[in-house]
């Protein structure tokens, strides 16, 4: 049996309400809350970035997996906000967690799906018998240009998954990926904010890729939407995942637990992985989980998981996602948020 042996998530404590962003740019907050189903989003502290978020998420994953970090043979971090353009984020993470130095690391980048890429490769290496354990992480401190629609959603957080063969808490039964050249969203080298082409963002990008990956994954598995207790989709806002899931035949009840974007925002590479983490926090042995990520550019990775008895043993060994999402929040005003996100030009 191959799958997840330990999982962990981390969300910063800071939040900004969508109302304040709308007010700043003269938009109607009610229209945004209704239209995008977004209420507030996480904001990283001034001392947080993709590396610190990854370290805390992976520390929780290790707590749950209860394994010797030295046995981890690979660490992959997927993000569109790696702190260095050249120097893999995982080089710092392994030193912080006592992994390696006999370890293979790499940074992945694929807009919002870099996290599931990291998970897929980690899983594949264990499946191939190359190593006992591999760690895949999706984390981001995404930026939307001030006044841009993405500013309402771009948030911060991440999740880490240790793949292995023994004491598996969620077996990976099937995977499927779907990728095409789609010009919906990109960021050129040295540019601070990403660009997006409005007319490509919905139907030809998000919905097309999730639907094709999802349909093929259902075919491959021989399962139907009713066979699953939970479904998780990439969450660029609150509205899109509900629509994509419905189109594939999933119900609101199946999507409820993993649908965290209205209060978290879009954590990019950490989006669907963190939805999965919220599901694992409550899933029962035998439950099946359907998950499809999406990254602009564009592509989707799909996974079918089956939860095992081990979940009951590991669940309480680290903080749960809902607790991090709902408790101990520190609200920022727009000025503080702009300072935290380095949107203010300062003298050197």
């Amino acid at each position: 049996m191959i799958g997840i042996v330990g999982y962990g998530s981390y969300l910063p404590r800071y939040r900004i309400k969508v109302d304040l962003i709308a007010k700043q740019w003269g938009a109607d907050p009610e229209a945004i809350k209704r239209g995008l189903m977004l209420y507030e989003k996480t904001v990283p502290g001034q001392d947080e970035d993709t590396i610190t978020i990854s370290v805390e998420a992976a520390r929780y994953a290790l707590q749950r997996a209860r394994i010797d970090p030295q046995k981890i043979g690979a660490v992959y971090i997927g993000s569109e906000s790696h702190p260095y353009a050249v120097k893999p984020s995982a080089t710092i993470l392994i030193d912080a967690l006592g992994i390696g130095p006999h370890v293979h690391v790499a940074s992945y980048e694929f807009a919002c799906k870099a996290g599931t890429e990291a998970m897929y490769v980690a899983y594949s290496l264990v499946k191939a018998g190359e190593m006992e354990y591999a760690l895949g992480i999706g984390a981001d401190t995404s930026q939307g240009a001030p006044g841009d629609a993405l500013e309402y959603s771009a948030s911060a957080g991440g999740s880490a998954f240790i793949m292995g063969k023994e004491k598996v808490v969620a077996e990976i039964l099937f995977t499927h990926s779907y990728t095409s050249d789609t010009p919906d969203f990109w960021r050129r080298e040295h540019e601070f904010y990403p660009r997006h082409a409005g007319r490509f963002t919905g139907e030809p990008a998000y919905f097309k890729h999730i639907h094709n990956a999802g349909t093929s994954l259902l075919e491959k598995s021989g399962m139907q939407p009713k066979d699953f207790q939970f479904a998780v989709f990439h969450m660029p806002n609150g509205k899109f995942p509900q629509e994509a899931g419905k189109k594939l035949g999933f119900t609101k009840e199946q999507m409820e637990v993993g649908w965290i974007s209205p209060w978290m925002g879009n954590t990019y590479s950490g989006s669907s992985p963190t939805g999965l983490s919220a599901v694992l926090d409550v899933a029962k042995p035998g439950d099946k989980i359907f998950m499809v990520s999406f990254g602009s550019g564009a592509g989707s990775d799909g996974f079918v998981y089956q939860v095992t008895d081990e979940i009951e043993i590991v669940r309480d060994l680290a903080p749960k996602l809902r607790d991090m999402l709902d408790n101990d929040k520190i609200y920022l005003d727009y000025g503080e948020y702009a300072k935290f996100r380095k949107k203010i030009i300062l003298n050197e």
Binding site: Y14, G45, D47, E48, P83, Y84, A96, G98, E348
Partner: protein, 135 residues
């Protein structure tokens, strides 16, 4: 240029590695060459626990240049719980992050987290280490 020193201190800054005296058991953090209690020079490496309590603290309202945009912030002396009587735990100095500075109290329980401490200018290294958060 701070990176060479930072790099040498990675084990203590990232993983809280301390030196435990093989002769008297005293734990030195940061690690030392000579035990301050018994003058022995043989140590084993141990990893400190990540939880403790605030012994004393100060609120920095006028910070050094590098941190002047982050004021006010709290710097505290923390005693870590080492699974023994909580009175003889190892002490270290750390910033208390993610907090309302007016809510920090002597005796508050804290946990150490991995955070960015400073940047080496606009194009230099990011320097990471431990800070504490209230729990």
């Amino acid at each position: 240029m701070i990176s060479p020193r930072y790099h040498r201190e990675v084990a203590q800054r990232y993983r809280l590695e301390a030196g435990k005296c093989k002769q008297c058991g005293n734990i030195s953090f940061p690690p030392r060459l000579v035990c301050p209690k018994c003058k022995s020079k043989t140590f084993e490496t141990v990893q400190l626990s990540r939880e403790g309590k605030i012994l004393t603290f100060t609120i920095i309202r006028v910070g050094p240049d590098k941190f002047s945009k982050e004021t006010p912030y709290v710097v505290a002396i923390i005693e870590l719980f080492e699974g023994r009587s909580s009175n003889d735990g190892v002490r270290l100095t750390a910033q208390i992050t993610d907090c309302d500075v007016n809510k920090v109290e002597i005796g508050s329980k804290v946990k150490l987290v991995f955070r960015k401490i400073q940047d080496e200018g606009k194009s230099g290294l990011h320097c990471y280490g431990y800070k504490a958060v209230l729990i």
